[in-house]
Subunit: 318 residues, 2 copies
């Protein structure tokens, strides 16, 4: 297991800078007052493909040597990693093969195809996904870029916190959602060196709290088919992300689905940005645990902005 270093992150930033956006930081006096702390929101939903995952994807894609680049990249994902990897591959002009369950939303498939990604459908089971992916990779020779358990991906995600600290002039803590742990690991990687006094807090849905339980237990516990409105955070930690979580994360807080929806609506209304339920988990936990954040300079990473505008969570069931 190769653990990416701070220098890998610096190299990644130089490599991907021409292909990503240095996203703006937004503030809201109203939300500051509500939360009792000074909030800074890093808008990774403003990346062209709408998610921070373009950082890690671009680092993997643009780090390939010419020989490997000809064969392209491959992954399995039905979320933002699939579209961000396709997007990065399109920018370099190389093939991207994505294995996706046939049950994935049509909109996700459309986005991957719009960026030139080639989709191979599998059944919605781990067995089918793994078998299908092995076949695709054998046929194409595409380099496997895991959605988060990959040192190139973690080094890429780490570039976000470097920008964030430079843009804000320093923060007491950075809060990011945790699913597989790619963004949290990148944040730990960067801040443990760049600003070791800055705490890294992970925020997780109560209904998919495997990282929280792993963190408390001291070893990886996986959820059994979790269900939450924050559907970007369903995947479990893996060895590489567990390394960063267990060594560098200060605390993991959780919030209920209703608290996540309420926080999402607050951000839409007062920051006026469109973001996913997953990206609302940090604010939900901050409002739930105000004493942990009171008076602090708190950075929040808004991880993604790809939502179905026809099915907003506060509209469902009404």
């Amino acid at each position: 297991m190769y653990i990416p270093t701070y220098d890998d992150m610096l190299d990644a930033h130089v490599r991907i800078a021409p292909h990503i956006r240095c996203t703006p930081v937004r503030t809201s006096d109203y939300l500051n007052e509500l939360a009792g702390c000074q909030l800074f929101f890093k808008c990774e939903n403003f990346q062209e493909p709408g998610a921070f995952k373009v950082r890690g994807a671009a680092n993997a894609v643009f780090g390939l040597n010419e020989g490997q680049a000809k064969k392209g990249v491959a992954t399995h994902s039905s979320g933002n990693h699939a579209s961000c990897l396709s997007y990065a591959a399109m920018l370099r002009g190389i093939p991207c093969n994505v294995v996706m369950p046939r049950t994935a939303p049509q909109a996700k498939k459309d986005t991957v195809r719009r960026y030139g990604g080639k989709i191979t459908e599998c059944e919605p089971s781990t067995t089918s996904r793994e078998a299908t992916f092995a076949k695709v990779q054998a046929e194409t020779g595409g380099d496997f870029v895991h959605p988060y358990n990959d040192p190139r991906v973690i080094a890429g995600q780490g570039t976000c916190s470097k920008e964030f600290m430079e843009q804000t002039g320093g923060l007491d803590m950075v809060v990011a959602p945790i699913g597989g742990g790619g963004m949290i690991s990148g944040t730990c990687l960067t801040l443990s060196k760049f600003a070791p006094e800055t705490k890294v807090i992970a925020a997780e849905p109560e209904q998919a709290d495997d990282a929280y339980r792993s963190f408390k237990a001291g070893y990886i516990i996986a959820d059994d088919a979790p269900k939450t409105i924050a559907d970007g955070l369903l995947v479990p930690l893996k060895d590489l992300t567990w390394h960063f979580v267990s060594n560098h994360v200060t605390e993991i807080y959780t919030a209920s689905d209703q608290e996540i929806i309420d926080a999402m609506k607050l951000i839409w209304k007062h920051l006026r940005v469109v973001m996913e339920p997953s990206s609302a988990v940090p604010l939900a936990t901050i409002l739930k645990q105000p004493d942990a954040f009171r008076g602090k300079r708190v950075g929040v990473i808004i991880t993604g902005g790809n939502v179905d505008l026809d099915k907003l969570p506060w509209m469902l069931g009404s």
Copy 2:
């Protein structure tokens, strides 16, 4: 009639800079491709009270001498001007009296009160509004800040285009929605001197096209109770804004309500910002008249971001 000058705009920018945000400019490769031109979106919806109108309001409020400031300001409005003037008055710590029809949405009243504005309700008629406002002004001595037909307001709105040109390094045209014409007038004021080769295009809902018809006729024509989803654009031009529209605007384009809703959804989806139907009118007209914009560097001012998230236009009637 005092016509504000370029120097008034420069003075306004110095005066209001500590109280407003230099809002970011967003781009989308997807929307560029769709429109066939290079689009730059100036996000005035990211002002703290959610609209560009804080510029003109802050210029009026912070330009008052101490004697007048004690008596505060007064206006009649049920829209963003009311909340932005209340917000600016709150920042200076002076009274703000707002006359508002009793039928105005509760959310608008709540926002004005949250910023410390004092609301006096009137009946929803011009007669009642004028009588009520005269009484309020006589009682309070508050300085009348008209929502748009005021040189201080127009000079304030003009600061937006100065930032826009500096941030983008120049544009072939700037497109903004037109209602009463405050933002368009400020844009004309600034660009006619700062970048006289840059065209100013106004965008208007077909269902409230009084500015378009006035522009074609050569004199002010007012609509009789217009109705459109772009409810920020219902008010008519007045002498001061007509001066700028008739002298400096290159063209006025219109779009239907359905085209406005479609454009709004495109911006929410691909720029990932929350904005009002009124702010979608420019993109709707650009997509409707692609030949007029093809290959150009086109600036679009996203004027405001205050919407009712429970009543989004594409959800209504479904």
